[in-house]
Amino acid sequence: YRSALNDYQRSKGLELVHMNEGGVKQEILADIQICAKQCSDLLDCRSFDYNWKSQSCRLLPWTQNFANVLLQRNVQYDLYQKKDYIRDCVVGHGITYRGTVSKTKNGRTCQHWRLKFPHDHKFSPTHWPELEENYCRNPDSDPEGLWCYTTDKNIRHQYCGIKKCEDAVCLTCNGEDYRGSVDRTESGKECQRWDLQAPHTHPYKPEKYPDKSLDDNYCRNPDSSERPWCYTTDPNVEKEFCQITKCSKIMEVEGEQGITWDWAEKQRLPNVETTSTCFKERGEGYRGKANTTTSGIPCQRWDSQTPHVHRFLPEKYPCKGLDENYCRNPDGSEAPWCFTTLPGMRMAYCFQIKRCTDDVVEPGCYHGNGELYNGRVSKTRKGITCRKWEEKRNDLELSLDQPYLVPLEGNYCRNPDRDSHGPWCYTMDPNTPFDYCAIKPCEGEKVLTIEGAENIVFDSCGKRNDRSSQRTR
């Protein structure tokens, strides 16, 4: 049940281009699994790129780490490189490592394996083909890991100090942000690729969860489990946790060596801003004291298992702020939530907590609708820079029935269509064609005018078949 693709790291929308090899490599019309198998069988195949349009691949003898090789964006291709060549950590004792580190842990340059000077040795690249250049290798399966002969005639050889994958990237909190390259479970089973549905079918398709980095078959934590996990390639074991070193453990060890850490800093959720009176994004950083649901139902304490049994025990989720019965978001839900004290209602959101505004407000204000605004603000409320009006002059989507009251100069916020929500601009963000600007209306300026309903005509919307109730026996 193991896929040949497991040996490869995918880079979406990229291809490799060798600057000195002008000729286009031959494309093999084949399924991606067959391409992977063919490349794995060839000693000098280190990567392949797969053309989704033509369903063919090109087997390549280089990777992105080779000289004169460039990564180039091409939406038609996905690039698959052998993990051994691009991983910057060590699996096991590093026997399969094919990386390009060429310095020892003390910073000494490695001796080329083909050279016998300054140190004579038996490891000839002729017999050990993996001994390329002067890269760190482990040809004698040294349990201490990768090493090399040094160019210092007084030091024959030294270890390279490249970290094991399970130590290279450590776990903070529950490892939801873990992006390391451990691809085996704690019992040693190989992980199933997230982009495959065999041997186990699963809902965690990478394209559906772009923010979870479900790359290749690496251990991840997309569902706020206790720690990263993966589906296994063993059809009898669906999924298992992975053994990855916790940052706190590294801190303890380094603490003993005199390196000090800010413990509180490390306990904080990475990339999440803490708030208490409102919540941002999904509210994972909300640490306020709201303790009822939107409809006022009291929340269950996180350290209690009644009326609802749950997995979010405070001691297992130290960074999630699961204190008392406060609304929290330990699982990446839409907003802060809690288990309720009603047996019939397991959980509910706390939408009564307001979202923090993410508007950027500049000083100054506008009168009326701002159609006479001629100020110099040129950013939207979210801080995106405005596009120059000139660039849009030929394709203004608006029907401007009168000449502009204020010239559309530069990229300043204006209101040429008398938009009732104030000055706006086209933005530099391709996902936001237009947005309102970082200016507020002047105090007491908003007036709502009443419209009559007499002349309204609706035609194609708002109709439904209201079946009259039928008599039944």
Partner: protein
């Protein structure tokens, strides 16, 4: 919906997260545009891949082979003017209109719904133990003016604003609840159902003798049209 009854609201949309769980409501205003509330979404440029708009069925958890059910991925979110609490969701492809999936009209710009107009809310949210948990429910309300709402039911520092609207309190517990937010307050005008309000989160669910507050859509119709046009 607390109280109310099972009903038919072909423009009411169920918004589903990546796990396929219903989390908020919405209203279909164009074949590929849904209006909902900002409170339901993590950010104004959230990546909503995996999120879907589901409509065409009365059931909260329809079977996957339900022939009437239409599920369309949400491709984009656009936040409304700062004071609006509205969002527009663009669908990856247009839905097919039929007897179970219909568009709701937008009101004229800045139109004020006359007092006593009959309106209804709809949603698959919490029922507060009032029954019919797994089907779309509706509840009927009548509009009151903001002046009356403020005079009789709101404190001095808690007045409804011009961009909000009120419905008349009723002496029993009935109203929107968790899971209904973002859904429609649809009013019957000239024989057409018009999206006059959007359900926004409020303290409590359907509390008796208290008015329900909604975001007034007519204030934002120009923005809605501009977004669809651009």
């Amino acid at each position: 919906i607390v109280g109310g009854m099972p009903g038919n609201s072909p423009w009411t949309v169920s918004l589903r997260n990546r796990q396929g769980e219903h989390f908020c409501g919405g209203s279909l205003v164009k074949e590929n545009w849904v209006i909902s509330t900002r409170q339901c979404f993590s950010s104004c440029d959230a990546d909503l891949s995996g999120y879907q708009a589901v409509m065409g069925t009365l059931f909260k958890n329809p079977s996957p082979d339900d022939p009437d059910r239409q599920s369309v991925p949400i491709s984009k979110i656009v936040c409304g003017p700062s004071d609006s609490s509205l969002v527009m969701l663009k669908l990856e492809r247009p839905v097919t209109l039929n007897s179970r999936v219909a568009l709701i009209c937008l009101p004229p710009e800045r139109y004020i719904v006359p007092e006593a107009t009959k309106c209804e809310i709809a949603g698959w949210g919490d029922t507060g133990g009032t029954g019919h948990d797994n089907v779309l429910k509706i509840a009927i309300f009548h509009i009151i003016s903001n002046d009356e709402c403020n005079k009789n039911y709101r404190s001095q520092r808690n007045k409804v604003l011009d961009n909000e609207m009120c419905t008349k309190p009723v002496p029993v517990d009935v109203g929107a609840c968790e899971g209904d937010y973002g859904g429609p307050l649809a009013c019957l005008t000239h024989d057409c159902w018009v999206l006059e309000g959007v359900i926004v989160p409020a303290r409590g669910c359907g509390k008796k003798n208290q008015p329900a507050i909604f975001t007034r859509v007519s204030v934002y119709v120009d923005w809605i049209n501009k977004v669809m046009k651009m």
